[in-house]
Point group: C2
Chain length 322, copies 2
């Protein structure tokens, strides 16, 4: 009796991603020894073709983006990756060649980030390709970074550069100049989860999250969780040279950088006195961090100040599906 | 600043499913203390409207089916449920009322099976509703039931009754007589994960899996994993009164019962000498089990014998997506 199609597909493509706990993807479930003396950290994200990625994106980057978006959630908790489960709903005609490249990308990122697949499911969908990934990580007991905890007077920090992903999407859509091989498009397709920085922030950051739905909207979450307001200085927000060039050519793009989403940088609150400590830890982690504002007493609102110090009004709060 | 739509939706519907480790679904990830001295068991399954459930199914049963399908994977490993993460890709127009009933169903099953939600994601899809669930459970170290291990001479057992789900789907599709309130339709919409039986089989079953893609196809997996063949006696396969009535009226339905899928019963191998022990443990777990054949030396093939003892030829091996 030969293997039916679905199982042959798993054997041909996904088995090479399996770690020891996955039991070669031949059983009903994985069996994993949890790391002794650690807490588990768990998150899940889904991506739909045409919503979260472009159907014509290179297959190699699609699975990697999904994995990295989930790794970014682990980074925001200060956790170390353990493994993941992935379900793929594939439209008719998804080719073997496409799947091979999709899995090649995942294999590269598994090696880069030190984790492997634990299990999953592969089904057919009469609609857009839909991928879902659940990630597992671990932290020392009580060391998980949380969104709650920002206090008035705390400094507001962000890692890396903002807005590249939002601009990169528009480059790929032909709405902005640039090409698919450039920095901005790459940042849209392959976000950089800040795992080393997340681990380094334990004990010094008071509140942390990753920026996925736009800086201003996500800062609102830190405000609500902390029960305080925040002031964001727009001209302090770190931009890549490619983003800066576009904004200098068209200053009307600035709001997009602050609200556009797809950044996957860490946004965090820390005592104002911890500036030197933060800079030293970030340097040791190999990630630039920038002071972009601070938390203030008052209602959980975000005040954005323009280059002249006056309040800026932004057209939209951030990305929402509904 | 008000909550954007996606977060309001999570607050309004999904938060009531959250257990303590879920941090009220307000953080980037859940933080879970793994049960001390246990191994983790992990599985994931996806369901697509029109493929795995009917878009017109009652919202209460759709989430419960997804949860139960995953719980069935835990049962097949002899594991105890811990929690789950769920991603929902919702088409435009999914109403608040629909979501309320969907979550009502999940809440009922969380109480029935003793677990709660750890996290997830809610996104929009320009296509059919697509749901993905990752389940976590635990087992005593080394006690997980595996698919490998069946040996020639072992008895072949199955729990409950077979074919109800496949017949129930056809009742709901109007292809067979019956109604949506009947036993068969209910078995299609709400499979019964055999968790108590799975736990009870540790130490006596040599190989175990759950029947999800059809009895004959899934028995083939046990054969390949064990490196032996199997003989299945078609007239020993346990049928519910409703299924038996349909097959007596139309004997041509028998192959469907053996290959149709959606059973979620446990299929297992055990030493022939363990018959009394198996029956006692199953009785204590409150589940009927039936001896339906045995394993034989030879290639990993399934021989189905009809009521006259002669080989039966079946039209299809089971359900595959590809």
């Amino acid at each position: 009796m030969g293997l039916p199609g679905e199982f042959a597909l798993i054997a041909r493509h996904f088995r090479r991603l399996a770690g020891p706990a996955a039991l070669d993807l031949k059983d009903d479930a994985a069996v994993l020894d949890p790391p002794p003396g650690r807490q588990l950290v768990l998150a899940a994200d889904a991506m739909v073709a045409g919503v979260h990625f472009l159907a014509e994106d290179p297959p190699e980057t699609i699975g990697r983006k999904l994995l990295r978006v989930n790794l970014s959630d682990l980074a925001a908790m200060g956790a170390t990756p353990l493994g993941y489960l992935m379900t793929t709903a594939l439209p008719p005609g998804t080719s073997d060649a496409w799947l091979g490249r999709f899995v090649d990308g995942l294999a590269a990122d598994q090696a880069a980030f030190g984790l492997s697949v634990l299990g999953g499911d592969t089904v057919s969908i009469p609609g857009p390709m839909t991928l879902s990934l659940t990630i597992l990580g671990s932290v020392a007991p009580g060391a998980a970074l949380r969104r709650q905890g920002a206090r008035p007077g705390d400094a507001l920090w962000v890692s890396g550069t903002l807005g590249d992903g939002a601009l990169g999407l528009r480059v790929l859509q032909g709405k902005l100049p640039g090409d698919a091989a450039g920095h901005l498009a790459r940042r849209y397709r392959l976000p950089e989860p800040r795992l080393a920085l997340g681990s380094a922030l334990a004990g010094v950051a008071r509140a942390t999250m990753d920026v996925s739905d736009g800086l201003v909207q996500d800062l609102g979450h830190l405000c609500r969780a902390g029960g305080c307001g925040a002031v964001l200085k727009a001209d302090s927000v770190p931009l890549s040279p490619a983003a800066r060039a576009l904004v200098e050519a068209d200053p009307a793009l600035l709001p997009l950088l602050l609200t556009g989403g797809d950044d996957y940088e860490l946004l965090f609150a820390a005592p104002a006195t911890a500036e030197a400590e933060i800079l030293a830890r970030a340097a040791a982690a190999g990630v630039a961090v920038t002071l972009i504002g601070g938390f203030v007493a008052g209602p959980p609102e975000v005040q954005v100040r323009g280059p002249d110090g006056a309040p800026m009004t932004l057209p939209a709060g951030g990305w929402s599906h509904f």
